[in-house]
C-alpha cells in the first residue's frame, strides 16, 4: 500500500516541477517588442522613418498593361484572376545620421508573407540605386499575391480589399508592423502611370 502512494507522490512532484519549468521557459521567451503603427503613421527602423502613403491593388495583367515600361518583369501564362499586385508607396525620411535604408520589407497577411522582387523594385525606383534618392522621397514596393497560396475565402477578401496587411521591418529585438487597412483597387483609381 505504501509503495503506490509513494509512487503517486513522486509522480505528482515531478509533474509540478515540470509544469513550473514550462511556465518559466515560456514566460522568459525572447519575444520581440511589437511596434504596430496604423496606415499613415511612421515607423523608424535602422535610423530611417517609413510611412505608408498609398497602397493600390492591381490585377496582375492590368498592372503591366498600365505600365508598359515594366512589361519585361511580367510572367507569361498567369491565368486570369490568379495573381494580384499590391503596390505600396512608402515615404522615406532620414532620422539618424548613420541610418541605413532597408529595401527588403516583407508583406505579411493571414499566415504567410511575401518577399520582394528586387529587380522590379530597382526598375520602379531607379533613384534608390543611382544615388539620387533623398530623405523625404517616396519609394514604390510591389508585392505579388498568389491565389494558390490562399483559401478561397481569403482570396475573396483580397479581391474585395478587406484583407489587413502588415509590412514588417525587423524581427528582433523590435518588430515594426505597419498596418495597411485602406487599399485602393486599381480600377477605382484614375491613375494611368506611376511617376517618379
Amino acid at each position: 500500500m505504501k509503495k503506490p502512494i509513494l509512487l503517486m507522490i513522486c509522480t505528482l512532484i515531478c509533474a509540478v516541477l515540470v509544469l513550473v519549468r514550462i511556465i518559466y521557459v515560456t514566460g522568459h521567451a525572447r519575444r520581440p517588442v511589437v511596434n504596430q503603427v496604423t496606415q499613415g503613421e511612421g515607423a523608424v527602423y535602422k535610423g530611417i522613418e517609413y510611412q505608408i502613403v498609398d497602397a493600390v491593388l492591381w490585377e496582375y495583367a492590368d498592372f503591366f498593361k498600365a505600365h508598359s515600361e515594366l512589361e519585361g518583369y511580367a510572367e507569361d501564362n498567369v491565368g486570369k484572376n490568379q495573381r494580384k499586385l499590391l503596390v505600396v508607396e512608402y515615404k522615406v525620411s532620414r532620422v539618424e545620421e548613420d541610418g541605413s535604408l532597408e529595401t527588403y520589407i516583407p508583406l505579411q497577411y493571414y499566415h504567410l508573407f511575401n518577399g520582394i522582387d528586387i529587380f522590379m523594385l530597382q526598375a520602379m525606383n531607379p533613384s534608390l540605386f543611382d544615388g539620387t534618392f533623398h530623405s523625404g522621397d517616396t519609394m514604390l514596393v510591389p508585392y505579388e499575391l498568389y491565389r494558390e497560396n490562399l483559401l478561397e475565402s481569403q482570396w475573396q477578401e483580397v479581391e474585395e480589399g478587406k484583407t489587413v496587411y502588415k509590412t514588417v521591418l525587423g524581427m528582433y529585438p523590435e518588430k515594426n508592423e505597419m498596418l495597411i487597412t485602406d487599399v485602393d483597387i486599381a480600377e477605382d483609381k484614375d491613375e494611368t502611370a506611376i511617376e517618379k
Partner: protein, 290 residues
C-alpha cells in the same frame, strides 16, 4: 462484458511487445530532443548573442527569431530524420503490443475457450478494444512526453510566418492552430495519432487469418502503410488528402491534408476494418485451429 474488456485491456498493456514498442518510440523521442538541442537550439542561441550586439550595417541586424515549440517537437520537426523514422515505424509500433494476440489465441485454443464461455461478439469486441487502446497508447506516449520535455527548454509560443520555420503553409489543415495555438495543434494531432495507432493495431487483428506466421500479421500494417505512402502517393497524387499514411504526420509533408478528407478517410478505414474483422471471424469454427 466489463470484466472481459478490463482483462483484455490489462493484457494488452502488459505484453512484451508493448514495452518494446514504448522503448523504441521513447528512444526516438529522446534522440530527437538531444539532436535538436545540439544542432538547432544551441546554434540559435549563439546567433542571438551576435544579433543582439549587431549594428545597423550588420546583415544580421534585426533578423533573429525565437524557436517555438512546434519547431522542436518530434511530430512537426523535420530537420532531423526522427520524424520520418517515427512515422515510418508508426504502424509497426502500434501493432507490436497486441496485434498478434488473436493469432496466438486461435493457435493455442484460448480463443475457443473464451468463445465458449462468452459470446463470440463480446470476445472479438474486447479484443479489438484492447488492441486499439494499446496501439494508440504506444504511439501517443512518446509524442506526448517529447512535447512535455521539449517544452522544458523551448518556449510554448506560436510560429511567426516570417521566421520561415513553419513546416506547414497557410492553406494546410489547422494552420491557424499551428501558428497561433501550438498546444492545441499538438494535442489535436496526438489525438489523431492515438486513433490511427489503434486502427493500425486493429488492422493486424483483421488480417490474422490471412497469414501463416505471427511476424507477417504484426508487420502487415507497416507494409500496408508503406505501400500507401510510396505507391499511392506516386500513382494517385490527387488522392493524397485521403492517404492515411500521410494524414498521421503533423508535419503535413504533402501539403494536402484537409479536415474533410481526413474525416472521410477515417470513416472509410473504420468501416472497411470493421467489415473485414467481422467477416473473418463471424463463422470461423472455433475447433479449427490455424
Amino acid at each position: 462484458m466489463k470484466q472481459l474488456l478490463r482483462n483484455e485491456i490489462k493484457k494488452s498493456m502488459r505484453t512484451k511487445g508493448f514495452f518494446i514498442a514504448l522503448c523504441v518510440g521513447m528512444s526516438i523521442g529522446l534522440f530527437q530532443m538531444a539532436w535538436f538541442y545540439k544542432n538547432v537550439y544551441l546554434p540559435n542561441n549563439e546567433e542571438y548573442a551576435q544579433v543582439i550586439n549587431a549594428g545597423y550595417e550588420d546583415t544580421l541586424y534585426g533578423t533573429w527569431f525565437e524557436t517555438g515549440i512546434l519547431q522542436a517537437w518530434m511530430g512537426s520537426e523535420i530537420y532531423s530524420p526522427c520524424n520520418q523514422l517515427f512515422y515510418l515505424l508508426f504502424p509497426l509500433l502500434a501493432a507490436l503490443p497486441y496485434g498478434g494476440s488473436l493469432y496466438q489465441e486461435w493457435g493455442d485454443g484460448y480463443a475457443a475457450q473464451m468463445i465458449s464461455r462468452c459470446s463470440r461478439k463480446k470476445y472479438f469486441l474486447a479484443k479489438a478494444a484492447g488492441a486499439f487502446i494499446s496501439g494508440g497508447t504506444v504511439v501517443f506516449v512518446p509524442l506526448f512526453l517529447n512535447f512535455i520535455l521539449t517544452a522544458c527548454y523551448v518556449p510554448v509560443i506560436g510560429t511567426d510566418p516570417l521566421s520561415m520555420q513553419a513546416v506547414i503553409s497557410n492553406k494546410d489543415m489547422w494552420a491557424s492552430l499551428f501558428f497561433e495555438q501550438p498546444v492545441l495543434y499538438a494535442m489535436a494531432y496526438m489525438a489523431v495519432d492515438f486513433m490511427y495507432g489503434g486502427l493500425f493495431a486493429c488492422i493486424s487483428l483483421a488480417v490474422t487469418h490471412c497469414f501463416d506466421n505471427i511476424f507477417s500479421v504484426i508487420a502487415f500494417p507497416m507494409l500496408f502503410a508503406c505501400c500507401l505512402y510510396y505507391g499511392m502517393d506516386s500513382l494517385l497524387p490527387s488522392f493524397r488528402s485521403y492517404n492515411i499514411s500521410d494524414i498521421i504526420n503533423p508535419a503535413q509533408l504533402t501539403g494536402m491534408n484537409r479536415c474533410s478528407a481526413m474525416s472521410l478517410a477515417t470513416a472509410a478505414t473504420v468501416l472497411i476494418l470493421t467489415l473485414v474483422y467481422c467477416v473473418a471471424n463471424h463463422k470461423r469454427d472455433m475447433l479449427k485451429q490455424r
